[in-house]
């Protein structure tokens, strides 16, 4: 069943909601006015925590809890909106800004008020020139309407919101790398702890939230916790905008309450509309390229944080890539790891060298057709040396495609080996090589 009321993709009910005046006519900034008039910052934090809003950027961490980590009485504090959406298969932030930008801006404003910050930054990925422009325009309209700036609506509260353009680096979606980039530096991640909530941008307490997370906030504040919890499951309340792509008839962004089966997203005529040419599903990457793969036999899994984690994968950013039986698993792993290799920032050795070698070996196996007899154990050995040893999640993510492909489709790798070498790929050999 499609939603009759959307939380994020409200353009489906109000097609021109991207227009500031139309947004105002449809409860736009009502939540912000209500917050300023009736709610203390702590009340909003409590509402967001009680609503069970979880970070939509990938980790699914409870947003209200994160806001509670800020040390008391340390000012200034900063709110950062992470709009560096670059995860392969994920394209919902882009669409939110294009079609319902004011709800995001209102979310940024209310959230900044909730964490008692007077400065908020929206970090837009360098390639999103149009999105940055849309946001700047929307922010200017909010200033002109007295909803931003000094002494907002006579409340005594001041807030400035800035848009910062990135310059094309996937790593800047990592929160500490994003802060480095905002400070005008190379986007390489920082060591944690200290966590951003304690010591973030310019060494001050900082909260970083994803675009979709912040766009939820005005609706929670306006409609209340119970209304919000009427969507989704107990542990994953609300809705998620899933980006569906790959071999489906209708790729696109679809907002679903948490807890519906994967099958429904792919096959329902309201969403994916089935597989192209009715071919079977072979691989599903459910949360962007960083998520471990699922297979066509797992279509009954439900789309919520718990179910996908229990199946050994993750909901991640909600970018669902569906591939049919015509694809070669080693080739898909090669293409995905080529992305991670290219985007590795070079700070830590396991990621920089590991992604390089994964791609080198996969390239000779898949593209050149010159697999070496020992290539399968070598691949196992490389990703095992990366897993758990990388400085940030980029390197850990690069492990997922190759590890999944080898675990789920080992025979496809064996077929690439020189004739007569299939017996070389038993587990014993792998262990020997790791210990060597």
């Amino acid at each position: 069943m499609a939603l009759t009321e959307h939380i994020i993709m409200r353009e489906l009910e109000v097609p021109t909601i991207a227009d500031f005046n139309v947004y105002l006519q449809h409860e736009g900034y009502t939540a912000w006015r209500k917050a300023l008039a009736e709610l203390a910052p702590g009340d909003i934090v409590k509402m967001v925590r009680d609503a069970g809003l979880r970070g939509r950027g990938g980790a699914g961490f409870p947003t209200g809890v994160k806001w509670g980590f800020l040390p008391k009485d340390v000012k200034p504090r900063y709110l950062l909106c992470n709009c560096d959406e670059s995860e392969p298969g994920t394209f919902n932030n882009h669409q939110i800004i294009d079609r319902n930008p004011h709800q995001l801006i209102e979310g940024v404003i209310i959230s900044a008020y909730a964490i008692e910050s007077n400065t908020a930054y929206i970090y837009a990925r360098g390639e999103f020139a149009t999105a940055a422009h849309t946001l700047e325009q929307g922010i200017a309209q909010a200033y002109a309407a007295g909803l931003l700036g000094k002494n907002i609506l006579g409340s005594g509260y001041d807030l400035d919101v800035y848009v910062h353009r990135g310059a094309g680096a996937y790593i800047c979606g990592e929160e500490t790398a994003l802060m480095e980039s905002l400070e005008g530096k190379i986007g390489q991640p920082r060591l944690k702890p200290p966590f951003p909530a304690v010591e973030g941008l310019y060494g001050k307490p900082t909260i970083i939230n994803n675009v979709e997370t912040l766009a939820n906030v005005p609706r929670i504040v306006l409609k209340g916790v119970d209304w919000y919890r009427s969507f989704g499951t107990e542990k994953s309340p609300g809705t998620k905008v899933f980006s569906l792509c790959g071999h489906v008839n209708k790729p696109g962004n679809y907002e679903l309450p948490f807890g519906l089966p994967l099958r429904e997203l792919i096959y329902s005529p309201e969403y994916g509309g089935g597989m192209t040419d009715d071919r079977p599903v072979k691989i599903i990457v459910p949360g962007g390229a960083s998520a471990p793969w699922l297979t066509g036999e797992q279509l009954d899994l439900t789309l919520d944080y718990e179910a996908l984690a229990a199946a050994g994968s993750m909901l991640g950013s909600g970018g669902v890539i569906v591939l049919n039986d015509t694809v070669s698993a080693p080739h898909v792993a090669y293409k995905m790891d080529e992305f991670f290799k290219h985007e590795s920032c070079g700070k830590c050795t396991p990621c920089r060298e590991g992604t390089h070698w994964l791609v080198k070996v996969l390239h000779r196996m898949t593209e050149e057709g010159h697999a070496h007899p020992e290539d399968i154990p070598v691949l196992h050995s490389i990703y095992n040396q990366m897993a758990g040893n990388c400085f940030c999640l980029l390197g850990e993510s690069a492990v997922m495609p190759i590890k999944s492909a080898l675990a789920l489709f080992p025979e496809e790798f064996e077929r690439l080996l020189p004739a007569g070498m299939n017996g070389r790929t038993n587990g014993k050999h792998v262990i020997e090589l790791q210990q060597a």
């Binding site: 959406e85 670059s86 995860e87 392969p88 298969g89 994920t90 394209f91 932030n93 882009h94 990925r125 360098g126 390639e127 999103f128 020139a129 149009t130 910062h164 353009r165 990135g166 310059a167 094309g168 680096a169 996937y170 980039s181 905002l182 400070e183 005008g184 530096k185 190379i186 986007g187 980006s243 569906l244 792509c245 790959g246 071999h247 790729p251 696109g252 962004n253 390229a289 970018g319 890539i321 591939l323 694809v327 898909v332 293409k335 995905m336 992305f339 290219h342 985007e343 920032c345």
Partner: protein
């Protein structure tokens, strides 16, 4: 507030645009990335004079300016040498939905390969790892405009228009 300390590398009026961008951001070191964006949009690329001037004006070490200019993919230290650019997405979805065929057609019909330009130098072809438009796959950006559901025919048509209009 600081003012422009060092003199612009030349009397080219376009430096005023760069100066204005730095002034708007208070000549702060954190204005570096935005300043590089504005400079590149104004001049097409970042040469050594530009890097030195920005470093001196923002009070940032030249090494950091060079590091940032080479770390981020948006910046280039060499002129593109083409009037028009097409950036094709090489992400997973675009690859699956027929990017290889499109690239093959551009190569065969126009002699255009990734990183290169048409023989007359009018159109350049570049690649991006993922343009975050997977729902529109295959996607490409033609002179700043996103085009989805690309086919070999539509890609060829757009680039041919550029080449023919200019001649």
């Amino acid at each position: 507030m600081k003012t422009v300390k060092s003199a612009a590398p030349s009397t080219d009026n376009r430096w005023r645009i760069v100066d204005a961008a730095m002034r708007r951001l208070g000549f702060q070191p954190h204005a570096l990335i935005e300043t590089l964006h504005v400079t590149q949009e104004t001049f097409g690329f970042l040469d050594e004079d530009a890097l030195r001037y920005i470093a001196a004006t923002l009070g940032v070490p030249l090494s950091q300016v060079y590091g940032v200019a080479t770390f981020y993919r948006a910046f280039t230290l060499k002129p593109k040498g083409a009037h028009h650019t097409c950036v094709v997405c090489t992400g997973t979805a675009c690859h699956l939905k027929g990017l290889p065929e499109i690239l093959a057609a551009l190569e065969a019909e126009l002699g255009l390969s990734p990183g290169g330009s048409t023989p007359d130098g009018k159109a350049a072809l570049m690649t991006a790892r993922c343009l975050a438009s997977c729902g529109l796959a295959p996607a490409a950006v033609f002179d700043g405009k996103m085009v989805g559901n690309l086919t070999s025919a539509t890609a060829l048509k757009r680039i041919r228009q550029w080449v023919e209009h200019e001649s």
